[in-house]
Symmetry: C3
Amino acid sequence: MEKKMLFPKTGGLLHGGDYNPEQWLDRPDILEEDVRLMKKAGVNSVSMGIFSWSVYEPAEGDYHFDWLERIMDRLYENGIYTVLATPSGARPAWLDAAYPEAMRVSSRGVRDRHGNRHNHCMTSPVYRRKTEQINRRLAERFGSHPGLILWHISNEYGGECYCPLCAKRFQQYLADKFDHDIEKLNKAWWTVFWSHRYNSFDQIEPPYENGERSVMGLNLEWKRFTTWNTTDFMKAEIAVLKEITPDIPVTTNFMTLYDGLDYRRMAPELDVISWDSYPSFHNDGEPFFETMAENAFHHSVMRSMKKDKPFMLMESAPGLVNWQAFNKLKRPGVHKLACLQAVASGSDTVQYFQWRKSRGSAEQFHGAVVDHRGTEDTRVFREVAQVGEMLQKLRPVAGTTVKARTAILFDWDNRWAIQGMQGLGRETKRYEETCMGIWKEFLKMGVEMDVTAPDQDLSDYDVVIAPMLYMLKSETAANLRAFVEGGGQLLATYLTGYVDQDQLCFLGGFPGDGLAELFGVISEEIDTLYPSDRNHIRFEDGREWEVRDYAEVLQVQDARVLASYTEDFYQGMAAVTCKETGKGKAYYVAARTAPGQMAWLFEQMLKEAGISIRQLPAGVEYHVRSGEEGTYEFYLNHNTHPVKVENVQGPDLESGAVVQGDLELAGLCTAVIRLQGTD
Amino acid sequence: MEKKMLFPKTGGLLHGGDYNPEQWLDRPDILEEDVRLMKKAGVNSVSMGIFSWSVYEPAEGDYHFDWLERIMDRLYENGIYTVLATPSGARPAWLDAAYPEAMRVSSRGVRDRHGNRHNHCMTSPVYRRKTEQINRRLAERFGSHPGLILWHISNEYGGECYCPLCAKRFQQYLADKFDHDIEKLNKAWWTVFWSHRYNSFDQIEPPYENGERSVMGLNLEWKRFTTWNTTDFMKAEIAVLKEITPDIPVTTNFMTLYDGLDYRRMAPELDVISWDSYPSFHNDGEPFFETMAENAFHHSVMRSMKKDKPFMLMESAPGLVNWQAFNKLKRPGVHKLACLQAVASGSDTVQYFQWRKSRGSAEQFHGAVVDHRGTEDTRVFREVAQVGEMLQKLRPVAGTTVKARTAILFDWDNRWAIQGMQGLGRETKRYEETCMGIWKEFLKMGVEMDVTAPDQDLSDYDVVIAPMLYMLKSETAANLRAFVEGGGQLLATYLTGYVDQDQLCFLGGFPGDGLAELFGVISEEIDTLYPSDRNHIRFEDGREWEVRDYAEVLQVQDARVLASYTEDFYQGMAAVTCKETGKGKAYYVAARTAPGQMAWLFEQMLKEAGISIRQLPAGVEYHVRSGEEGTYEFYLNHNTHPVKVENVQGPDLESGAVVQGDLELAGLCTAVIRLQGTD
Amino acid sequence: MEKKMLFPKTGGLLHGGDYNPEQWLDRPDILEEDVRLMKKAGVNSVSMGIFSWSVYEPAEGDYHFDWLERIMDRLYENGIYTVLATPSGARPAWLDAAYPEAMRVSSRGVRDRHGNRHNHCMTSPVYRRKTEQINRRLAERFGSHPGLILWHISNEYGGECYCPLCAKRFQQYLADKFDHDIEKLNKAWWTVFWSHRYNSFDQIEPPYENGERSVMGLNLEWKRFTTWNTTDFMKAEIAVLKEITPDIPVTTNFMTLYDGLDYRRMAPELDVISWDSYPSFHNDGEPFFETMAENAFHHSVMRSMKKDKPFMLMESAPGLVNWQAFNKLKRPGVHKLACLQAVASGSDTVQYFQWRKSRGSAEQFHGAVVDHRGTEDTRVFREVAQVGEMLQKLRPVAGTTVKARTAILFDWDNRWAIQGMQGLGRETKRYEETCMGIWKEFLKMGVEMDVTAPDQDLSDYDVVIAPMLYMLKSETAANLRAFVEGGGQLLATYLTGYVDQDQLCFLGGFPGDGLAELFGVISEEIDTLYPSDRNHIRFEDGREWEVRDYAEVLQVQDARVLASYTEDFYQGMAAVTCKETGKGKAYYVAARTAPGQMAWLFEQMLKEAGISIRQLPAGVEYHVRSGEEGTYEFYLNHNTHPVKVENVQGPDLESGAVVQGDLELAGLCTAVIRLQGTD
């Protein structure tokens, strides 16, 4: 088990968060009070330096690191470890003044002025050099500090740059991709349409707002390039750190399903996955459980990028945030619930933005462990301290992981292609929502489900759901076929297999690339419904699903028809089919229905795969982590009323009590049960 | 009759659409299959070359036309004629790279980058020269090809350019218009207001977003200039074709009531009017009949631009489109219904965008006769083939026209003036909607109604409706007066005669320019109602109309009061009046009501004019086409249920059956009856 | 009393408005008719020259003033005085052509092109010089004209400029403000956050759209700078006039609560306050009385800027305006009601935009006394003439003022800080609405209430309401403490005292700067509710208030708890408290409730302060003006039905009748009662 524990030095789970002592260098009393309060709150780590460049290097080449060393020392003496960031997320004013090329150019073709953050050009050689310099200094100075446990690369990478350097780099990227043959690109992008043929790569510009926006291949490759270029920048940041501190792991903090970067392309460069979680708790658009389940989905997205080890919850808010449309207080108990959800989902850390509120500027009202008042006598501080205590008791869990036998396919390329395709309903494509909705149904059944890519190895899974798999990249169809032939149960939906990786339509009938044979159906037409339109699907046993948004008209080849439409001109035609191939089955659901209605079909698939469903009261979330040393069940009651879960056996790590049969959970309360016979 | 038939070579009606073989030059099997399928679908024409510039001329001066010749030959051998386009709608990449002046400058003053389509500068001498060159080559190469029947000039002209060349040309246009006397312009634009006096024409700029937007004369003249300049560009395109192929007619494809161009200024330069029709079938905002009636209105707009000959439906979608908010499938039968509606309205063609779907790029999911699947085994293909059969049977109709004794006045200048005027309710002006609403009431009564301009010859008409005729250009008031004096029945509404052609208010009372005398009323004030406000108008017989949006307070001079307001401070004051002048009558309706409520008044006017109303079941559309050779009645049932129309006599061209008395029409079905005694 | 009368020459109240004879110089008949009509309408003043620059100086240095002199003479001969404007509001075309620096640069960094109005750079030395030149010429030519009674400086100052000159001036402004010490600024703006430290003042840019928008100190100082720079420009305009015509008073016309300028910084430079009032009469979003009460609030804002003298209603619309979303006609009687409201609120003038409608351009449909028709036979003209008669009868009122013993604190800096703060609910901050809502409750009680600034002398007041006093500038807390200690009753709400004048949070607990002691409470957390969320506050007597939007969680120190929350996790905790200090009381209301619910608490405070509440029928507005010569009560019935007001004694200035006990007011009617024993 030792091997999988992320931070062996700490002996367990991390508890801490962003800490900005540079804001209080003239207040040593406050810095000293911070140490006292951290210990009181059970904090064993802080993340520092994320926005410290202008303090490290107030003028070019004038470095100041002593202050940080003093603080790292003092913290280490008190058992508090340091996650140290590279400061590239925000540039000092002098840097932009001296090197304007570091500032991005917007899609309008206008260079940004100095300001804000997270907005540097990823191509700029100067900025790469300045970043390399400061990273090197940091690594040299702090690389062997005993308190240092992790490098935090930059902060929440994102955005695009349309500067001439990026435009040039984009052309090079394309030339490489298309073998320096412009006709290959012309064919892939179908530029003969609307007379868009390029004569050479240097005629191609990024999709400026006042430029080319109608070539779909261009739009998609620009997104791929942005991921590639950002990853390349990140690799350059990492390289210098690995050179000096090869044993210190690196991460960068992701942001849920951030649209601008295909995180799966970045993940291989990182030692551990970490992310920032900011649900809109208690919002008025959905029940509380849905908000928590959505957050659980995001945890699963992160966990699935490195399945064999724990991930990190790098940021979360104690109290509230200040940038949502309505910044409501988290109700008592919810903080602990959300922290335990992270651990239950496979995180070995609970970290916050932020330790102490900034006195001024944009995030002065963002929640923190310590308020402007500066005291421990607040509800938020007390709840954080309780989490600190809880995490101490959960130390055995560190290093264990979540194992899933089911997966849902979610893919950034597919998402971008669906967004960019011209057709369907502009407001009703909802790819992410559809994937998440289905995932939640598995959560409700207590079945662990990974979120993975269509071209990943699927051999760990028995059931795979592939919603709206519009784009089939070159390996995908074969991968799915092999999965089914090998005994897997696969379910695909309307909008499967329309285009290839360049977004060219498959000829000969959808789903393309051989999937029409796998599913035994051809989709002749797809009907886009207006929001008030409805149809229904009826199964042989009379069961009905309501159809919204999309309904494909199928020509059934050799599939079995499980259900048919009940209305409109395709009344009586197939809507749900199944075809057996090899040892497996391929289901096709031709229309959109509420995920909750599909749950019954998912249950059939699970039963057939021999995956057991955990009977849970509504509103209860369930996870299992396991490792060499033991297996732990997590129960989270998202209701405000008490519930009873049946068939629970074992000691509760928090209370120490042994549960035998019925687990009683008060409103918003949790339990972590160590399964017997696993130690 | 021969003379009026648009394409005598074809012996009847055109059936076909846009065809892009340049996308499949590497797939001769597909090109060959196209010919087979076209014949199967009853297609006798294709439109080619619309976006082929980069294939015709892949590098400057390097021309390639052989491929097109081969295809035109092969099609001609198979009885399929060619509509050939000039390719100016989309520029090759090399052209923009070499001649940036061809790219437009936006209203922000920023030049576009290369991309998209329909976006060249209309002034650029270089682009005019390059267009002339390619057009000349095309005409020289294909002008005498026996398959060529029509020139399709560019594609869907539109948009504006704010480049320095256009700005300069605008100044010249203004100097010419105002006799090179800046004081004439100052007076016409009332520039003394807000100190906007110009010293010279070269101080005047187009209405840039960050420039002058408050001079209404400037705003209006910019729109007029854009029409003038676009027409001038189009004339230059046509000139070279007429020089080489004087006998090949020319058209350009219009887009319903496109706001940016006054199509009536362009129409005289064309031999035949054509347009592109893309209704939002089955949308959730209105009943299906309303959608179809709106489309019929647009047909009438086009038909009325050249009343003495048929027009062309240049584009329509087989199946669906891909660019609406919701791209719903056309239900079975609707395709044929819409095609016949075009013919019934006076079109001699049924053409599609497009024959075969593009494999990639922006319109890859736009409906086409042939799908990506590439087969005839689709619902869409079958419905198109049925239309092909129908059009064969309707050959006798070719060359006949629709004759109307009623007209509604719709005018682009008036529309622009109403849009630009500061006052009333920002969201409730609804000029187009108001005109269309009234036109539909005449359609429901089975009465043909032209859509014409206020300064056109009105002598063909007995009843003229002039809604919201805010701007009276110099001839309009006299034209209306002469119409009434000559025995016409004229109905005008609130907002009549406020401003002259320069948008200067008439002094001395509205409606101005003598119309107060014609109607016998002065409009003292116009009340703008909030959306929830209501008033009513009561006639002497107790009949009531509900008032929304606008209500004028009249001072009645010598008109007869037909109805008065029932509420508010103008309760009891005149709301509908009539004054007899010469042999005619002038009605004034001072407030806005739903058009359906006004139908009763329209009926009175029709009766008095001796125009018979066709009794039709609700949801049935009726038209008559006639020519030397015969008269044809068209019945279209837009209901999904069957209806019976009484008093129909004659053979049905489609079925061959002879109707005697009751015509039974199944849901979404049609009939074309040849009136007896007309052959 | 003579001393306080604004325009002794006129012997009473001004009646008139904007007059643009330069639009009709070629129509002497119309100019002559204007004089006749003005006399008929009881007009004794006009405002001229507001947009006359291009007529004064059609080419640079070529001045033409004779036309104006002729008109001023003719008007003066007929008893009509002139308010003369400086013409800087709109620049001639030649000026922008010759001096582009006069044109503003937008927040995008792009220079405007010539056009529109109210858009010159406030910094431009050239424009200041050109303005000084034309102002000097005007003063020299007309300064001693006997008809001249007031300078109208420019027109509706507003907007911002981001040009290099303004950017430089902003840097100088900041350097002056922060003692040329960049570290003082860094500390005040907390630039260490997100690494925003500046090295020098010349690194600081205005908050361009594509620049720095995340430094809240920068955003706030930019607004303060814009006020400072505009005031500086205005002072330059005034200086030349005062040099030549020291005895002619100056004003500039304000626009209600215009967000872009802190009018209280401009007021000291003016001799008299004037403003432009354009309520949305009869809108569908609120009852008519609410619209009128909102207008009364704005009158109070203006009145309170110079409490010791009357103010001016510089512009209002006869009839209607043309720029609102719906431009509805004012119903009969409303014009007079609104005019008397101004006088009742302390205005000594009733002035219009405009006398005669412009024939063309952007405001050709804006209401005017004289319509395009050019006749006195209109409802609007008759209503204006009635106001003229009324104002004659109200001459004794001239020079008296309104005295208030209550005040509400409204502050531009606080408003900007609340807008700019990141947190709470984006759409629900509603500072202005909250202040106005509370003010209206005092109006309904017939209690005069000033609208003043938190740092003003509060010694005239017995009751002060301080809603949402988020920002405490350096003097404010002390001022409030002194007010309470001196016997005042103070009521503050949620969001009090979070930040100082630089927007740095107070450490040690909110409300800061000692106010936690004054109120006896600390606000631990503020909960932002979603729009559908509700809570309640219950008082000891069972009375309940409904809570929306915001609810603070208080820690009560030594205040008395008057009411507590009834729901959610802060159920039972204090929501309304009171603490006595010195001779006064400090109330704290921790949550937002509808102002009408708070009225009961306001009554308690008024009773305790010995301020009597005037019992009024619903919908009746009441004011008192008094001076050495007499005291006048104003009653305005905003209902369309008649009402009876009890306990009224004295002669009605309009009718001459003496009221004894019951005052009967017809719908939309008014009375002005001279209190007995006051002459």
